[in-house]
């Protein structure tokens, strides 16, 4: 019998991920590994990890990685890529990392058209620290630092990073995907592959925003978190290609 779906070499064979049940961080990390393996570039890849749950990735993945200061992943990736252009360098960042504390680094790297790939995990909440308000938290959605939920007058509105970066001239590729169904998971896989291919082709900044879940801090079991993701998150963050100059 032929194995038609195998565990990727991009994650360690003997390790169970540290992520909560149903958390799509695990899914995306798996997809990245599958893409790197398929493209046969795993041995030249460096992952730049953001702070927060992203850090759980370092023990789970099998290849080179560096943990960046909170929010600085795009700057760290810039340093690696510019000084070592032969490496494939991608950042793996959550919404707090990419869109809040690291906003300057994210926008500036995109504006320079830095030849890196960004995998941006948007689950609308701070996961590792315990469910605080994120720049991407939905209106009305409760957070441990917004007990009455996000209020526009007080907290402003959810940030749409694909659309914000789409105001810039330099970025090559911006797509928003999800992993809420097998079909969308395969689309995410394809988007990640495209982002990496763009980098190999020297086309500059690519970002895949993956709208995901946080069952633990949303206070929902994994299957209920899928419903919330489908009904609420994807209404605020519609999926699709925002820009494709690849």
């Amino acid at each position: 019998m032929e194995k038609i779906y195998a565990r990727t070499k991009g994650i360690r064979p003997d390790v169970v991920s540290g992520f909560c049940p149903g958390c799509m961080h695990s899914t995306v990390i798996k997809l990245i590994g599958e893409v790197l393996e398929e493209m046969n570039i795993i041995d030249k890849t460096v992952a730049v990890l953001g702070i927060g749950c992203c850090g759980l990735k370092m023990e789970y993945m099998s290849y080179d990685n560096i943990t960046s200061p909170h929010g600085r992943a795009c700057a760290v990736a810039t340093g690696i890529k510019r000084s070592n252009p032969d490496s494939l360098v991608y950042t793996y960042q959550g919404d707090g990392d990419f869109a809040s504390i690291g906003l300057a680094e994210s926008v500036s790297a995109a504006n320079r058209g830095e030849n890196i790939s960004v995998i941006f995990i948007n689950n609308g909440i701070y996961g590792m620290t315990g469910g605080q308000l994120a720049p991407t938290t939905l209106l009305g959605m409760k957070a441990s630092t917004a007990p009455k939920g996000r209020i526009a007058e007080e907290h402003g509105y959810p940030m749409h990073m694909c659309e914000i970066l789409n105001q810039l001239t330099a970025p090559c590729y911006l797509e928003r995907t999800s992993c809420n169904t097998p079909q969308n998971t395969l689309k995410t896989r394809k988007a990640i592959k495209k982002a990496f291919q763009n980098q190999l082709d020297g086309k500059g900044f690519s970002m895949v925003e993956v709208v995901t879940n946080c069952p633990t801090n949303w206070g929902l079991d994994p299957l209920k978190s899928l419903e919330f993701l489908n009904e609420k998150m994807l209404t605020e963050y519609p999926l699709g290609v925002i820009r494709d100059n690849g």
Binding site: R12, D43, R72, G79, S83
Partner: protein
């Protein structure tokens, strides 16, 4: 040896390039702008990379990345900018990433003044970021010394896998002096240094044990403690092996000044003036302010030395605490201080010495 006339900041940048530095990221701040400006012209000539980061915070993170990929890398800033870089400096120290940075320090605290000062001593030597890490801190008192120290700093950084700080006041950074530059490392030498860093994160064959894994922290407290213990041993070894200090007319001195950087140079002039009058005045100049030359001060003959004069461009005095630790109450310690961007005047030091002899 060919001598060239160079500004301190530019000489530091050229020395770095000659030491094999091939990556610089920085952000404008006075009085160190000539360093990034020089690198922006020079690095492309040697196949290096210059980036003006969007902030100090981003710049140090870029250097953290480039150095983690094995490239000899540098950043620079001035006092408030160094505070911003403290995040990335701490990451480099935690992950044991070799990197060199220069603080062309100015008056503080806060945004302070753009004129020269020595007000970052504590920050440089005691706590340049969270977590209690240490770095070798070299304090030049001439442009030539700034050149030699910068060149050597990259070797120290690589030897220890640790950041090294050139603590340079704004005077040394902005004045011009004749210097002899070190010989340029060849492309082959630069490549060999980079290739020797097997730990670098540039991509490896899939192999968990031998992957390039840059860890500025760890989930395991046991691993964290082990790393901190190893670093502590390294710091102790610096104290044994790497202290640099200049003794100037100390042997028979009854009054010993302690000063570093530009203050030491002014103090030296004062020593000469008093020696011309037969007065027994000397100077101890810490060249490494970390590791601090405690022994040089500790081992003075306190039957002979009547007083110590701590000369610093900082109010309150900062190095004074290290000097006190070494003197151990065996003689009075007086201070001669200025601050906020005011330069130490020779006359001020003369007067301070006159009160003590």
């Amino acid at each position: 040896m060919k001598r060239v006339f160079m500004k301190g900041c530019e000489a530091i940048a050229e020395a770095a390039v000659r030491a094999g530095c091939r990556f610089f990221a920085g952000y404008p701040i006075t009085p160190q702008n000539e360093i990034p400006e020089y690198f922006s012209r020079r690095l492309p000539e040697v196949g290096g990379v210059f980036i003006q980061g969007e902030s100090e915070v981003a710049s140090i993170s870029m250097v953290y990345g480039a150095a983690s990929a094995g490239t000899r890398s540098m950043t620079s800033s001035s006092s408030p900018g160094i505070s911003l870089k403290s995040e990335g400096i701490s990451y480099c120290a935690a992950a044991r990433i070799p990197m060199v940075y220069a603080n062309i320090s100015r008056g503080g605290p806060g945004v302070g003044s753009i004129q020269p000062a020595q007000m970052d001593y504590m920050q440089a030597t005691k706590a340049s970021g969270n977590g209690g890490f240490k770095m070798m801190v070299l304090a030049p008192s001439t442009v030539q010394e700034a050149v030699d120290m910068t060149f050597a700093a990259f070797d120290y950084a690589d030897r220890d896998r640790n950041p090294v700080l050139i603590l340079c006041d704004g005077v040394i950074g902005t004045m011009m002096e004749p210097v002899v530059l070190p010989e340029m490392k060849s492309d082959e030498e630069v490549a060999a240094i980079k290739n020797s860093k097997k730990w670098a994160a540039i991509g490896h064959k899939v192999d968990y044990a031998n992957r390039g894994w840059i860890q500025p922290g760890n989930w395991s407290t046991a691993i964290m403690q082990q790393g901190n213990e190893e670093a502590a041993v390294m710091y102790e070894n610096w104290q044994k092996n790497d202290v640099q200090v200049e003794h100037y007319q100390v042997e028979d001195a009854e009054l010993v000044m302690v000063a570093y950087g530009i203050s030491a140079r002014i103090a030296k002039t004062v020593v000469d003036k008093y020696r011309a009058d037969g007065k027994k005045v000397g100077l101890i100049r810490p060249i490494t302010v970390y590791p601090f030359p405690y022994k040089a001060i500790e081992n003075l003959n306190y039957n002979q030395v009547k007083a110590i004069l701590d000369v610093e461009m900082s109010i309150p005095a900062q190095m004074l605490e290290d000097v006190s630790l070494a003197v151990k109450g065996r003689c009075p310690i007086e201070t001669c201080l200025c601050s906020g961007g005011n330069l130490m005047k020779k006359e001020q030091v003369m007067d301070a010495v006159a009160k003590l002899i």
